[in-house]
């Protein structure tokens, strides 16, 4: 329609307006993960944002102080539920550090492979969610399909699709299945291909680029000061990856690159994740080659590893061993240790304190996304309100670990 008066300048048309208060969440459709953002808007621009988390606080750390050391695994599973295996491994490594244990070679490779698979799944989910929030539904469907393949593999190995509780202190719950290697190789290409396929729809897509490039960018200095790690830190150009900086398990035996971005904006975050899927695949391929087919998975120590079930039913010795571990919990020497691994979102730390009994005295999880979301308000201030959701998506906030 015709403007009322073409002589009048834009500025005169504008009316003075107070900033508008708006509550996003905690049950906002696009907020996967329950978080609440109290934003102050002038027009469409966010002038002030207060990110409130804790709607999924499930008392993880308190619960850990009630069972025994092994009973913590189900809880860590559910801390980062889009890559539980990485949490399993992280916690197991922390406790083993305290016990001074080293698991057999075969187990180390096994952990690496399962962990990297979980990382791929995690990145796929994160990217899928972010793309979907920008209206790109096709990649979401493709990537969920790819994730299903990984889930199937996990189901075959661990018996569970999502929450495996597969890690054990001093090893894993079961040795790899017979077809583990070939099945992994079989899905690997499909998953990577599917990831690329999805990315090809996005990376040069004009709408997508306009919506993400230069949006919610963060400088290296800020990111470091905020304690950011993982893909979000790397997207700013800092090549910091714990697998390289402080190699654990057998990561020093593989060659892989650490992808970095330069802007630290949403686009980079997505692309870094996309590239890491490739790197994970690389690591898995090498690991599958090097992994021995024979050999024990668990350390050989009756105080730590459960006996075979068959013996438990038949001989008193094995029954006693089973009882000691299950009823009293394996005894972890008194002391404290901070085990840190590179989870899908960054540094996943477990600070475990033991008083020498079978019950953890304190299990502290250092969730990567807690630090990330801590920087969210800084990120979205000055952005359009419509960019909050994709920014939030690109952080990959996982309620379980962020809210403990």
């Amino acid at each position: 329609m015709e403007p009322l008066d073409q002589e009048v300048e834009e500025s005169e048309l504008e009316l003075p307006s107070d900033p508008m208060q708006l509550m996003m969440g905690p049950s906002h459709p696009a907020m996967h993960g329950t978080v609440r953002i109290a934003v102050e808007l002038s027009g469409e621009v966010v002038v002030k944002a207060d990110v409130q988390i804790g709607y999924l606080h499930r008392g993880f750390e308190k619960s850990c102080e009630r069972g025994n050391w092994t009973q913590v695994f189900p809880y860590v599973d559910r801390c980062n539920y889009s890559s539980p295996m990485l949490n399993n491994v992280g916690y197991a490594l922390a406790v083993e550090k305290l016990c001074g244990l080293t698991v057999p070679d075969r187990c180390q490779y096994y952990r690496v492979i399962l962990g990297e698979l979980a990382r791929m799944a995690d990145h796929l989910v994160c990217n899928a969610a972010m793309a979907m929030e920008l209206g790109a539904f096709t990649p979401f469907l493709w990537w969920t399909r790819a994730r299903e393949m990984i889930y199937d593999l996990f189901e075959e190995e661990t018996g569970a699709r999502v929450t495996h509780s597969f890690g054990r202190i001093g090893g894993m719950a079961h040795p790899p299945t017979d077809n583990f290697k070939q099945h992994t190789l079989a899905i690997l290409d499909k998953v990577v291909a599917s990831s690329d396929e999805g990315i090809s729809l996005l990376e040069t897509n004009r709408i997508f680029m306009d919506r993400t490039m230069g949006v919610s960018a963060i400088s290296q200095a800020d990111a470091i000061a905020l304690g950011w790690t993982g893909p979000c830190l790397r997207s700013t150009g800092v090549p910091y990856d714990i697998r390289k900086a402080h190699p654990y398990l057998v990561y020093d035996r593989f060659e892989f690159d650490v992808p970095v971005g330069h802007e630290g904006d949403n686009y980079d975050r997505l692309m870094v994740r996309a590239e890491e899927v490739h790197q994970s695949a690389r690591i898995i391929r090498q690991a599958l080659e090097q992994m021995p087919d024979e050999g024990p998975i668990n350390v050989d120590d009756p105080r730590i590893v459960l006996p075979p079930k068959g013996e438990v039913y038949d001989t008193i010795e094995a029954t006693i061993r089973h009882f000691k571990i299950i009823m009293e919990g394996l005894k972890v020497p008194a002391g404290e240790a901070y085990g840190y691994t590179e989870a899908a979102n960054g540094e996943l730390g477990f600070y475990v304190v033991s008083d020498g009994s079978g019950t953890p005295y304190r299990v502290r999880i250092r969730p990567p996304s807690f630090a990330l979301v801590g920087g969210l308000s800084k990120l979205i201030t000055g952005q359009m309100i419509a960019d909050i959701i994709p920014t939030f998506g690109s952080m990959n906030m996982i309620g379980g670990e962020c809210d403990h």
Binding site: R303, E311, T315, I316, E317, F323, E328
Partner: protein, 539 residues
């Protein structure tokens, strides 16, 4: 103090100490089954074997043994030092003992443990001892290997009833003869004995007898494995769910130290275990006392009552206050309870002082039978304590009855739930006012105009003074049930409702003003290694 060496560490000992005793006192752990600090030395389990180096200049005591040489796959002659039981060999000046550092000793322990488990049934899942079983602990510490025997184990009678309280399982028994020695030496009633030999031997009750003396529970307590179990605790709870609180037995005036084991999930007490105290009960308790944990739950009243009807606690307190207000103090008496702690009684006494009530009487259970081991005729845990806090002559319950009959006593504030006579209802009915602070139902609670629910000893901290005049603290185990509160708190509320404010409101403050009793004795006497040292760490 003379010393000798264990694994190169200097260990002090007193004349007559065995190696084991000295080691335990020095905190060096030597495994043992059959030895018990309170019993004679049998040295039949062979678990505590140690290697004793010969004195300088003397040849070592060696044995010829055959050993399988795996290379030659044949048995060859080798010499081994003769190991000796640490529980039996007395420590000597400058003696050199090898325990954990001698592979002979380690192998011996491993073998002993393996033999003990040879015919042991796979019973842990259904065994009450599981979780506090020495076989389990020592397997992990000293064996750690699988079963080698592929034979069918020897089968023996299971679930044999030894008497009204004890069940015996021969397959689990390791014939340490602790129970036998206990009956013989402590109770002086040798009703148990060992029958047969080798791996078919078992404990038996002497013909025509049952295991029915006053200390049968102790046989279960001394049993290091699950062979003897009490019918009372059997299949009731799993010990790893239980926690222990340092408590004082409520059975009689001896005031035996005990652990009250309770389940925090259900807030329920499950059993008593004796707590070593050389000055009071050494390592023992009587059946009566062991069962007195039931008082924590049996016919409790946990809600306030006004004239027999349930009521809110606050309402009941104010009601009690208004009932007492109009009673002339010379016609009012207070009834102290030897069943309750010093704190409760002291609170009531100070209430009496505040109101100017002169008449004080004492109630409690009637006397029962006693013996010269532990059981006291006075079946109340705190008679001495009441006399102490009352700080003046206290009339007996009969005096109170006389007073009521004579009409000189019309109003009574009573503590406790036990009366020494069969039926006091007829007397108590004559009272104009009866305010009772008690924990369970009795003729007092039945006739109370107002009943205030007090905690049992299991639900509150309290000091009890035993017949010897020793003040001992009993710690809280379970949380107060429903409206129940510590007696002293209720009395304080009552006093406040009557317009009398006490100087104290917390337990600390109360204890500060309470007449001092002798300090609680240490749980673990210095000169005795604790049989259940691990347990004392629990609470």
């Amino acid at each position: 103090m003379p010393t000798f060496k264990i694994d190169g560490k200097d260990v002090p000992f007193e004349k007559g100490d065995t190696i084991l005793r000295a080691a335990l006192r020095a905190g060096i752990d030597i495994p043992y089954y059959c030895w018990h600090p309170g019993l004679s030395i049998a040295a039949n389990c062979r678990m505590c074997l140690v290697e004793i180096l010969p004195p300088p200049g003397r040849p070592p005591m060696l044995l010829d043994v055959l050993e399988l040489d795996r290379e030659k796959s044949a048995y060859v002659n080798v010499k081994k030092p003769k190991l000796q039981p640490a529980c039996q060999v007395p420590a000597g000046e400058n003696m050199e003992v090898l325990s954990d550092t001698s592979e002979h000793v380690l192998r011996a322990r491993h073998s002993v443990q393996e033999f003990l488990l040879l015919n042991h049934p796979v019973d842990c899942p259904i065994c009450d001892q599981a979780g506090e079983c020495k076989l389990q602990d020592y397997w992990l510490e000293h064996m750690k290997t699988k079963k080698r025997m592929r034979d069918e184990p020897v089968h023996k009678p299971k679930a044999v009833s030894f008497g009204p309280t004890i069940v015996y399982d021969a397959e689990r028994c390791i014939i340490c003869t602790r129970c036998v020695r206990f009956c013989k030496e402590v109770v002086k009633d040798p009703v148990l004995t060992v029958r047969e030999r080798g791996n078919v031997n078992e404990i038996a009750v002497s013909p025509g007898r049952e295991l029915d003396h006053a200390y049968t529970f102790m046989t279960e307590h001394v049993c290091p494995v699950g062979a003897l179990t009490t019918k009372d605790f059997r299949f009731k709870a799993r010990v790893w769910f239980l926690r222990s609180a340092k408590s004082i037995c409520q059975g009689c005036a001896t005031g035996c130290n005990a652990y009250l084991d309770y389940d925090p999930r259900y807030q329920r007490a499950y059993r008593y275990r004796p707590r070593d105290n050389e000055k009071v009960n050494q390592h023992w308790m009587c059946d009566e006392g062991m069962l007195s944990y039931k008082l924590a739950h049996d016919d409790r009243i946990t809600l306030a009552r006004i004239g027999g009807k349930q009521a809110k606690l606050a309402k009941a307190v104010s009601k009690a206050a208004e009932l007492l207000k109009d009673g002339p103090t010379d016609q009012t008496a207070i009834l102290l309870s030897a069943q309750h702690s010093n704190e409760d009684n002291f609170a009531l006494v100070s209430l009496a002082k505040a109101l100017g009530i002169k008449a004080m009487f004492l109630t409690g259970k009637a006397d029962g039978e006693g013996d010269d081991i532990l059981r006291h005729v006075d079946k109340n845990p705190n008679t001495a304590g009441v006399k102490l806090v009352a700080a003046k002559a206290v009339g007996s319950f009969d005096d109170l009855v006389k007073g009521i009959e004579a009409g000189t006593v019309k109003h009574v504030v009573a503590l406790g739930s036990a009366v020494p006579v069969e039926d006091a209802d007829s007397t108590l009915k004559q009272l104009t006012t009866l305010v009772v602070v008690g924990s369970s139902s009795s003729s007092l609670s039945r006739n109370a105009d107002v009943f205030l629910p007090a905690c049992t000893w299991a639900e509150a901290h309290g000091v009890y003074v035993n017949a010897k005049g020793m003040g001992q603290q009993s710690l809280r185990a379970i949380a107060p049930a429903d409206d129940a509160q510590p007696g002293w708190k209720l009395v304080a509320d009552l006093a406040e409702a009557l317009g009398q404010k006490f100087a104290w409101s917390k337990l600390k403050e109360l204890r500060a003003v309470m007449p001092a009793v002798k300090e609680p004795e240490p749980e673990k006497p210095e000169d005795e290694p604790a049989e259940n040292a691990d347990a004392s760490a629990e609470s």
